[in-house]
């Protein structure tokens, strides 16, 4: 490698910072979607760098399903305090109480789908014109065709067949009244890049990502953690296992993986050797072949 050559992690970092600054420059009222997962933690880290020594010039927005891991909320609050950012919480419980959303019923009930309603309502309530998300193109096949600047109509919907072409470093954020954008600065990162960057930058991560002992139940190939939101079906029982989470979402649909990885280095080795994608542990993606696209069209993250 020659002297004036960035390595791949620093090149991705430079690209993401450019995109985040472009959001601040092109939009009047953006927000950063914070889920408490590794991608949104890395994105917050990049946002801090993008505007240093000034503070992030927009709030973080958390859509709280009410089914979060307690570790996620604790981590979120301490991160917000450390970086001095503003936090806005959109509550799925409130959407249900107000009759905006109807809770799913049944054994595999999840608030994953209805959080889209809360997200779109919160975007409208605060008048956000851009929402920065942590989506990566390597995660899922519908996301492989997503733009950095993704246009949403006034219903918050995505039209995958009719996306604006995106060339060079020229991002077109122009929109009509009432429309908004989703922006994905981490588009070109892979799961491996995320962990390498976490290692390189020594970014603090929630304990859920590291190996720990937890009671789980195996359902349709997914290991679900014990919580108030999951009831056992006939023949199922809680078992204590040594697990970690590869992705963190709602407790009702995020699956754990058996793992002994307790350091970032060990996680990197595990990811390198893994034969399954990280979303292989997500029950929400297993509903149909195009479930991600269908949810994204409606305005999902």
């Amino acid at each position: 490698m020659s002297f004036y050559n960035l390595n791949h992690i620093r090149e991705l970092e430079a690209e993401s910072i450019f995109v985040i600054r472009e959001v601040a420059a092109q939009f009047e009222n953006p927000a950063l979607l914070f889920s408490g997962g590794k991608d949104s933690i890395v994105m917050t880290h990049l946002a801090v760098k993008s505007f240093y020594p000034a503070k992030i010039p927009f709030p973080l927005l958390h859509i709280d399903t009410g089914h979060n891991f307690p570790e996620t909320l604790k981590f979120r609050d301490s991160l917000i305090e450390r970086i001095g950012a503003r936090l806005i919480v959109g509550s799925v419980q409130e959407s249900i109480d107000k009759g905006r959303a109807v809770e799913e019923i049944g054994h595999n009930a999840s608030r994953n789908a209805i959080q889209t309603i809360t997200l779109l309502d919160t975007i409208e309530q605060y008048g956000f014109d851009a929402a920065i998300g942590g989506g990566r193109r390597d995660e899922e096949k519908a996301r492989a065709k997503e733009r950095f600047f993704s246009h949403r109509d006034s219903f918050g919907q995505w039209d995958p067949k009719n996306q604006r072409p995106e060339l060079w470093k020229l991002f077109n954020g122009r929109k009509a009244q009432g429309e908004h954008f989703r922006v994905f600065p981490l588009s070109n990162w892979t799961e491996m890049d995320i962990w390498q960057y976490v290692l390189l930058e020594q970014i603090k991560m929630p304990s859920l990502y590291f190996s720990h002992s937890r009671e789980c139940v195996k359902r349709s190939g997914v290991l679900l953690a014990k919580s108030d939101y999951i009831s056992l079906m006939d023949g199922e029982k809680w078992e204590k296992m040594q697990v970690r989470f590869r992705t963190i979402g709602d407790m009702s649909c995020t699956g754990a993986t058996i793992s002994d990885a307790s350091t970032i280095e060990q996680i990197i080795e595990e990811v390198a050797a893994s034969r399954y994608t990280e979303r292989g542990t997500r029950a929400d993606d297993k509903r149909s072949e195009t479930s991600m696209e269908d949810r994204k069209r409606e305005g999902y993250f």
């Binding site: 050559n5 960035l6 390595n7 991705l12 420059a25 000034a54 060079w168 020229l170």
Partner: protein
């Protein structure tokens, strides 16, 4: 440590082009499969879908065709991005569909690529589509072109056929501006010369495709000579601790900047010095393209988004009237004398299409001067008149300061991609 090796890799962005049935999906599938980038759950899901659709073998295109419409119609609609890594490099593939909105998609995929792989079916040789692919790759200034002559197994691994196609392509390309072009005979299906050297073609002394992708020198692809810094965003903390801090952030679009450099700010042409360079890992003495940095200047000047900081003795061209090669991306025709919004680096201005010189027949490369209209996927040379000056380099010297897009004022859609001549 194993992790450190991972951390010190270069990133190569490449695009793939081929006509229908040239084996592009098979080749991408092979690169991903052989580099262990296809996961078992993805493979299972592709196997299941292939079976459901009644295909008699696994259709690797299903790995990338993610949208419902694509799966329903069995065609690829949009550019798909794929990722894989070997111990030497990390790769981003912009996989563009063979037919649908071909030019628009290839131009999109090519705009950020270091390298293009163009597939030719050895039984068919160079077809019109091949010419189009090579022309677009040269127009978009992709530094490296790799022509893969595929399905060599179906022509008995014949050296004569390989050499004949190679000559045809070379003759055609001699009229184009191409920096680096290489030829590899392969069989994507059986893996010959993809990752491993082929025993079937002992006459071929070159490298495998994977070796080429892993080792091709990309360090000189970026312009490190002409220093260009389009100001993206002004950072003013307005906090007690950083009361006087005023930083100009952006991505270095060309060259190198050093603390202490005498620089000029455009359009005001005021001269000052770089006081400090702040990067994501702290202050440094020098920074280069494509780093995202924040420059602090010695003097308090009026600098804002859309301005450009350059070296005092190396300034870009400044003009309100430019000749541009435009790829049209909209289903609405280009309006002669029409008004559009122009986006160039971090600058936005209004412009009109002052003159359309000609349209290019991308199959014959001939100029069409008596054209009726400029529509989707057409490439034409036009003159733009802009309401304010822009600071640019010719596209062939710098792909960032030499590129622009046109936006329709009414729909806000991106309708044109331009390369400044």
């Amino acid at each position: 440590m194993k992790e450190n090796a991972y951390l010190n890799m270069e990133l190569l962005r490449f695009t793939t082009a081929g006509s229908v049935d040239d084996g592009k999906s098979t080749l991408i599938g092979r690169l991903l499969y052989d580099s262990k980038s296809i996961f078992e759950d993805q493979m299972e899901s592709v196997k299941k879908s292939s079976l459901n659709r009644g295909y008699d073998k696994i259709n690797l295109a299903l790995l990338t065709d993610g949208l419902r419409a694509e799966r329903d119609q069995g065609i690829t609609i949009d550019v798909a991005y794929r990722y894989f890594a070997t111990p030497k490099r990390k790769f981003i593939i912009a996989d563009t569909p063979g037919h649908f909105q071909y030019t628009r998609n290839m131009v999109t995929g090519a705009s950020s690529a270091n390298l293009a792989i163009i597939l030719i079916d050895s039984r068919k040789g160079m077809v019109e589509q091949t010419k189009r692919h090579i022309f677009l790759a040269s127009l978009l200034g992709i530094p490296h072109l790799v022509i893969c002559i595929n399905k060599m197994d179906l022509v008995d691994f014949s050296q004569d056929i390989f050499e004949k196609i190679k000559r045809e392509v070379q003759v055609f390309s001699s009229k184009l501006n191409i920096q680096d072009m290489q030829f590899i005979p392969i069989s994507a299906l059986h893996g010959d010369n993809v990752v491993d050297n082929s025993d079937n073609m002992p006459w071929y002394k070159g490298t495998t495709l994977m070796y080429l992708l892993e080792t091709i020198h990309i360090g000189s692809d970026l312009n490190l000579v002409d220093s260009r810094f389009p100001v993206q965003y002004v950072i003013r903390p307005q906090s007690e601790k950083y009361q006087d801090y005023r930083g100009y952030s952006g991505s270095i679009a060309g060259g190198i900047f050093r603390a202490g450099d005498k620089v000029m700010v455009l359009p005001s042409k005021q001269i000052t010095q770089i006081k400090a360079i702040d990067t994501p890992i702290g202050s440094t003495k020098e920074a280069y393209t494509p780093m995202s940095v924040t420059l602090r200047l010695e003097d308090e000047l009026d600098v804002s988004r859309g301005d450009m900081i350059v070296r005092e003795n190396n300034i870009p061209e400044i003009s309100q009237e430019i000749d541009v090669m435009i790829c049209w991306m909209s289903n609405d025709y280009m309006k002669p004398n029409g008004r559009y919004i122009l986006k160039h680096t971090t600058r936005e201005a209004k412009c009109i299409i002052k003159e359309i010189y000609y349209k290019i027949d991308i199959n014959t490369l001939r100029r069409i001067e008596d054209f009726e209209s400029i529509g989707a996927n057409d490439i034409s040379k036009v003159c733009l008149k802009i309401t304010q000056p822009i600071f640019f380099d010719k596209y062939r010297l710098n792909r960032i300061t030499g590129s622009l897009i046109l936006i329709d004022e009414a729909t806000n859609n991106t309708v044109g991609a331009g390369m400044i001549l």
